[in-house]
Symmetry: C2
Subunit: 347 residues, 2 copies
Amino acid sequence: MVESQVSTAAEAGDSRRGNPRIQDVARRAGVAIGTVSNVLNNPDLVSEQTRAKVEVAIAELGFVRNSAARALAARRTDTVGLVLTDIANSLFVDIARGADSGTARGRLQLLLANSDSDEAKQNSYLELFDQARVAGIILAPMDRPLEATLAVHSHGRPLVLVNAPTAEPRLCNVIVNEELGGYLAASHLLDQGARRLAYLAGYPDLHAITGRLDGVRRAVAGAGASLRVVEAPNLKIGSGRALGQQILQSDGIDGVVCPSDPLAIGVIQAATDLGIRVPEELLVVGYDDDHFASESAIPVSTVSQPGRRMGELAVELLLEEISQPADHLHQTVTLDPRLIPRRSSLR
Amino acid sequence: MVESQVSTAAEAGDSRRGNPRIQDVARRAGVAIGTVSNVLNNPDLVSEQTRAKVEVAIAELGFVRNSAARALAARRTDTVGLVLTDIANSLFVDIARGADSGTARGRLQLLLANSDSDEAKQNSYLELFDQARVAGIILAPMDRPLEATLAVHSHGRPLVLVNAPTAEPRLCNVIVNEELGGYLAASHLLDQGARRLAYLAGYPDLHAITGRLDGVRRAVAGAGASLRVVEAPNLKIGSGRALGQQILQSDGIDGVVCPSDPLAIGVIQAATDLGIRVPEELLVVGYDDDHFASESAIPVSTVSQPGRRMGELAVELLLEEISQPADHLHQTVTLDPRLIPRRSSLR
DNA sequence: CTGTTAGCGCATTCAA
DNA sequence: TTGAATGCGCTAACAG
């Protein structure tokens, strides 16, 4: 099963004791140590000739800057840390992409850490970045108290939240209006003629899930329709199918709002199995605009969240806080989700 | 659209000029600087009482270790860098998970960087990690020459490859047998009675795609069946549907091997649209075991790659190289993929 | 077990 | 423009 093909050991570079230092470069180029530092950090201050000599020496020696020494001496860093709750979730991937383009614009480097929905890991990565004296931290936190986070921030590390459950007045926070998302989804189904809605509340303790439910309730109340709320054990297809089969058998449900796209796909499958036609007899809407939602057999209507924009905005806010640590105004930016109607909800 | 709710500025921690240093802690605790260092790094060498005093001082001051200074003085780091080609790809996410559990076991921290299929970014992150003097680097490289990578490695940075296109004798490499994957997929369809196969070669210049094709060819040749190879512009559902419609119209194709699950789903949709029943009249197999493949209307057979294991193994090899830089034997570990038969290919 | 000291490699003065 | 000196905050080695 495991075929191992071995080869000879390392034969290069290891003869040197440690890496070449800036001083080695200086000696080799026949210049002073400060000059080498200048070609690295302020090339304009160095004559063309000298610079060339130094660059040759750097190349010949294979010199690589030691960022620890650099950070220590310069008392700053140009790295931003992003701590993600779940690297497998498309929203967070989008946020990372947005953050990446944001930091690139600011000549910063972005390092990722995946907390994997583990609070201890989350805090451990926060501390790692704090110890590394990163320029700032962006955190997509779990639905839990933010003590450790506030601690990191309170001793001076710039930090902004993304997709945090509650507005935290002492921190910047980029969130999306969950209530509105639920409202958009439910209103749309009602507009299309549904009258007996169901909401599949996966992970009912997540702020996103309950926030969306509030919006669904508001829409339903305004339309004088009925709503049944069912708790789903998770947000996957399997749950959607199981719950779909359960509620579609009897209730006369004609519209289902799902807080995830897999859930919606599961419901559609259950309906198909039961001979209930989508969208003719049942309207379904999902959430997140997962890549496969638009391309399943019956393209799934969905509520899309502006993940990239969230990441970009988080970086902007972070840069603000970095540049004006004193009189920086913390703010919560709330972005609106957007309904994308597709066949599963259009009559 | 964007509602901004502002609050007051930071009111804590900023009065201090810079972060407290280990010396401040020592003074406050009334001990020597080395003692503080010891409670941080060798708690066993310190008496219970002293340790308590120091810990109180640390807490009161909000002291956070400066890892740059630490790294500089200790001449080492306990961080491993993982450079990923595509954070949105489930294989790489699995690799990251595996690497994470591997590093956790070794008391190392894992930092991620997403090259986003951009060679310049990939090299820039390699350099970032190199400058940071990380303990080692794991790289899931793009299908390109590895000059920059070899340069980083050759001046002494431990580095192992994951999922690299070709075995690189100077480096450890954890790969999966692509040829075998294609062979397993095609053989399975042939076993189930298919005789006229098609292979949807998305991104035909990727080693993974062509490697699998080789395996498909081998299986087909052994069975005296026919094979049609079609180039797909990418690995998404849309391509699968488009190509499916194209080849299923006329050719009498009765089995399709797809190098991705979305492609397979697209083909199944095309078949359904054309009134061709799956699996009765057409057998389909995908690749990667994407989470939704098992749960679509017709569960998709697939070839699963051992991503987690790849990540774990990469860390193991890296740790070996770190601990014995001199007489370390580079090796290429080839893992076997596994066929997961589901309804789309079972008669 | 505790305290002292000498660098780690670099950026950054300030003179020349 | 260039070069010599100072110290960033910490670890490790060693003497007490």
